[in-house]
Amino acid sequence: MLVDDVPHRRVHRWTHLRQHLAGYGFLSPWLLGFFVLTLGPAASSLYLSLTDYGLMSAPRWVGADNYMQIATSDPRFRAAMNVTFTYVLLSVPLKLVFALAVAILLNRGLRGLNWFRAIFYLPSLIGGSVAIAVLWRQVFAGDGILNQVLMALFSYEGPSWIANPSTSIYTLIALAVWQFGSSMIIFLAGLRQIPQDMYEAASIDGAGRSRQFFKITLPLLTPVIFFNAVILTIDAFKAFTPAFVISDGTGGPIDSTLFYTLYLYQEAFTNFRFGYASALAWVLVAIIAAFTALSFLSAKYWVHYDD
């Protein structure tokens, strides 16, 4: 045994090394991207967040001043947080429910399924195109189609949803829900992976459609729900384009659609306070990270993984 020990250890090291090498080999594009494209800029932004830095000026170290200001004396930060949390807390669940509901409807084997699927994906195709601004005004303005329909059906004279500061955020939530296509596609794929015999076993067990849905479909879909929820939440916190396009970058009316990233953007690109904007960015990262960590922790209790 003693004699054999030396060569064995070499073999041992080599196979282990090779395993690690393979792992890092496959990860290398990402690693390279991470170190070159992300880490450097992220680090410099972290540094800038501790400085006062404007256009054409050298960064000036101010320590935690920016963070202090955010925490204590920035009313617009609070406004932006308000708007963003409203958006996240409403748009994510709504979009999830909507995407799931449509995915389930479409999973029933309706004739012409391909077309419906494509139609439901259409709104997502338009992305953050500038055309959205016009379309949304057309639907949600005082004389928009929504109010015309409300008038015709219920004789209800609606406000100008998009212009009224108390309703404008909901038009953006509606936009988010409208573009549910990608989540729907991912849900559809997830639904297809649920083995058919699960439903057979459940129907033999006497379970009707709703019980099958709640006891089989939903639990087995939890990994996909989890995935979508995490992605949607992160994206919703970072949402920028909808408000940028629809309010033309102002976050108006009266800051009612001042998304966090929009505020960050204004600070950086119209007010040239790059340092402060960087601090805002890292506060956002911290908030998202907390949310994501929470969801990963909670996943143990409600997400079912098969492997």
Binding site: G40, Q196, F227, L264
Partner: protein, 286 residues
């Protein structure tokens, strides 16, 4: 799997009719804004906002002509630019993200969960925060005003979303198959190319379509990195129709928006079958 296998017992005709009605109603509501956009692209400029009707009073393709030729570079050229960038992005994302996802799901190496957490972390960073440092970096590389800043990062798996997505689906491929390949003497590379990738066509198609569409729709990166009009993408072209202080050409914008959606819509229709098909595995017991 065929489209109709899901209802083993067949639902009642009433339920079916209800499902149809629901789907139809929802799809009309959803489509209205887009229908309006398409119909407005055929209206003269001063009719666009004066009516909510979906049928143009005066039918004209003028907006298309204005839009297509209105800029010093034809819109067709921008379509070409967009296509090149989007295709390269697709290739880049598929290659680099699937590699990363494979490493995260199937390979054992030190620091795996650490890198995984960092990978998730990169998803949380708002792009505006790193925009200027990134710009400086690409400027130093001499890449500004080329498509490299738009394309090279995709080859470096910058879109963690796709890694995450692929991880979810790779997990559904039975480990038995990897192990069988290991017994067949295959190393990680061969397993990746010959087993994992061929079995992942649905998720690869999904990633391909998503990344094509998202790259196609992206305007911020092209805006920042492309300077010459000849290099503009379709989305950038669209944005030049909207002008903060002068007059916007809404007709041309709507017309070109319609045209911009068309290719990706066709792409989607062609690929959608692949997108949602489950992973095909052996008809294994257990």
């Amino acid at each position: 799997m065929t489209e109709t296998t899901v209802d083993a017992t067949g639902s009642s005709p009433l339920l079916r009719a209800f499902a149809y009605a629901a789907v139809l109603a929802v799809s009309f509501v959803m489509l209205y804004p887009l229908l309006w956009m398409v119909s407005s692209s055929f209206k003269p400029e001063n009719e666009i906002f004066s009516t909510t009707s979906l049928i143009p009073e005066t039918f004209t393709t003028d907006a298309y002509r204005r839009g297509w030729n209105g800029l010093s570079v034809s819109f067709g050229w921008m379509f070409l630019n967009s296509t090149v960038i989007a295709l390269l992005a697709v290739v880049g994302n598929l290659v680099s993200c699937s590699m990363a996802a494979y490493a995260f799901t199937r390979l054992q190496f030190k620091g795996r969960s650490f890198w995984f957490a960092l990978m998730l972390g990169t998803m949380m960073l708002p792009q505006h925060a790193v925009l200027i440092p990134q710009y400086l970096m690409f400027l130093n590389f001499g890449w500004v005003n080329t498509i490299l800043p738009l394309v090279v990062p995709k080859f470096l798996a910058i879109d963690a979303f796709f890694i995450f997505l692929m991880i979810q689906f790779f997990r559904g491929i039975p480990r038995d198959l990897d192990e069988a390949a290991v017994m067949d003497g295959a190393g990680p590379l061969r397993i990746f190319f010959k087993i994992i990738l061929p079995l992942s066509t649905p998720v690869l198609a999904t990633a391909a379509v998503f990344s094509f569409i998202w790259t196609w729709d992206d305007f911020f990166a092209p805006l920042i990195y492309l300077n010459d009009i000849e290099k503009y993408t379709a989305q950038l072209g669209l944005r030049t129709f909207v002008d903060a202080t002068a007059q916007s050409d809404w007709g041309a914008l709507l017309a070109m928006s319609t045209l911009t959606i068309l290719p990706i819509f066709i792409l989607f229709v062609v690929f959608q079958r692949l997108l949602i098909e489950g992973i095909a595995t052996t008809g294994m017991k257990r």
